[in-house]
Amino acid sequence: MGIETSTLDRSAIHGEEMVLNIGPQHPSTHGVLRLQVLTDGEIVTKITPYIGYLHRCFEKHCENVTYEQVIPYTDRCDYVASMNNNFGYAVAMEELMGIEVPEKVHHIRVIVAELNRIASHHLAIGTFGLDVGAFTPFLYCFRDRERILDLFELLCGARLLYNYIWVGGVSHDFPIGFVEKVYEFLDYFEPKIQEYNDLLTFNKIFIERTADVGVLPADVAISYGVSGPNLRGSGVKWDLRKNEPYSIYNKFEFDIPIGTGAMGTVGDCWDRYYVRIRELEESVKITRQALDQMPREGDVHAALPKKIRPPKGHVYSRTETPRGDLGFYIISDGKPKPFRLKLRSPAFTALSCIDEIARGWMIADVIAILGSLDIVLGEIDR
């Protein structure tokens, strides 16, 4: 009955490959990114990401402004986690200049960085749900993220681009009552993680969409230089806060969540997502400890000359942002402006492996894979 498909010449039905452009303006590319997808029917055979739509010459700009003025520019690299970017730059500069900052500054920085990590993971989780078709968790995530932004607004007036962590300190102390407000937020927020789990994480439809999809094996992740939650999702226990502690992260107790393949294979989209959920809990833990241990009195600036002029030399320092290792390479020639400043972006390396892990999947899965990588185009293009 009918034609026996096995006797058909496969090449006869094997049509031409089609080029499909996703982006630059596409809601699931998380910014302005163009993916040129080569498809064979519904199956993806090759993906070429085209970047540069958001290029603002960050590195070149930095050579023309003084060291203090670089900080507002670092804000705009990873604009969902500005505090962490400020932090990375400040840590690099302090290493270059050999400054010791007061104990209180360390604590303030850790608190705001971890709060910003929570806010950034909220965005990652919410938009990932949105990408695979779950609209509700997105609104819940934004409701809670808004509280963190309100806290930051109280702290420094800005909601996204803070310019708060400065070289040798922070721009100003916590307002009166801020610490209590952060405690209040943490108490409010901790039970909400369970809510996200009920809404999205263990939802069967969500698991079907993400488990076993876009597996990133550990060796591929390492060879591409992938870092952060994406690397940990592949089962590699690597977190700079533990492995190369900067600031005062060695004083805090926390775990590094890694992907276990609970719903499918180690390193699939669900693992990468779940690592972020678990990191929310860890960030809450760190913030609580930092708040408990923070000295209430004290100055929030290290003794610094009026003009920041680091000695001749160069430094490479990296910190753990919500997206992975953020590295700053700064060359100083003794003038008040950097001679060269290079930023190593974790989102860039995460995007670079998309061809490897998304090949062979359906177009709809590419969207899920891209969402699970949690890229921010501001940082990729700089």
């Binding site: 402004v65 203090e68 003025q69 670089v70 900080i71 507002p72 520019y73 804000d75 705009r76 509700t136 609104l139 819940y140 409701r143 808004e146 607004e153 109280l154 702290l155 420094c156 007036g157 800005a158 681009l161 310019n163 721009s171 100003h172 102390d173 307002p175 009166i176 009552g177 809510e195 009920d198 809404l199 999205l200 263990f202 939802n203 069967k204 439809i205």
Partner: protein, 197 residues
Amino acid sequence: MIRYFSNIWQSITTLLIGLRITLVHLAKARKGIVTLQYPEERWPRPERNIGFSHDSYNVIRSRLHVDIDDCIGCLKCVRACPVDCIHIKTVKVEKGTDILEANHIGITSNGTQKRLLLTRFDIDMSECCYCNLCVYPCPEDCIFMTGGPNSSKQEIDYEFSEYNRSDLIYRFAKVPKDQVEKYTPPPKEKVKIDVAG
């Protein structure tokens, strides 16, 4: 077969768990929990008494304002700005004296005697990145973001939209137009041309 039905069962139960949360949320929903009808309602801003132990903290990001009577033209804010959106021109005048026709008051409210007359003080708010860096170095505390801790000096203004981009250039200098010429020094006769540059 068992797998098929268990999948269906799991889908239904997990969906119901999710739905329960949304229903609980719906039951608890009150007005203003998330959505605000923006032009009619406004999100509360950190107000004037936000409780800083130090009153020189400038913790608001809105429109920049300059108390031009207090500005001594020291250019510290210009040097601090990472995007060069503050433009100042000054002329040397007699120290500490008022010049009435140019609306110039000789002494600031901090008691500093002014040596310079500001013929131009423009801030291009369309270029400003609201980084607050210009506010900190000012010795007379005369450049600040409106609202917040500065509400007593200037009411908050963060929605200054204009039809024309050039309307976003705020001109603070008070020297009348016809007087500017008088105070602008004549251009130097010999313009040196730097060939190598």
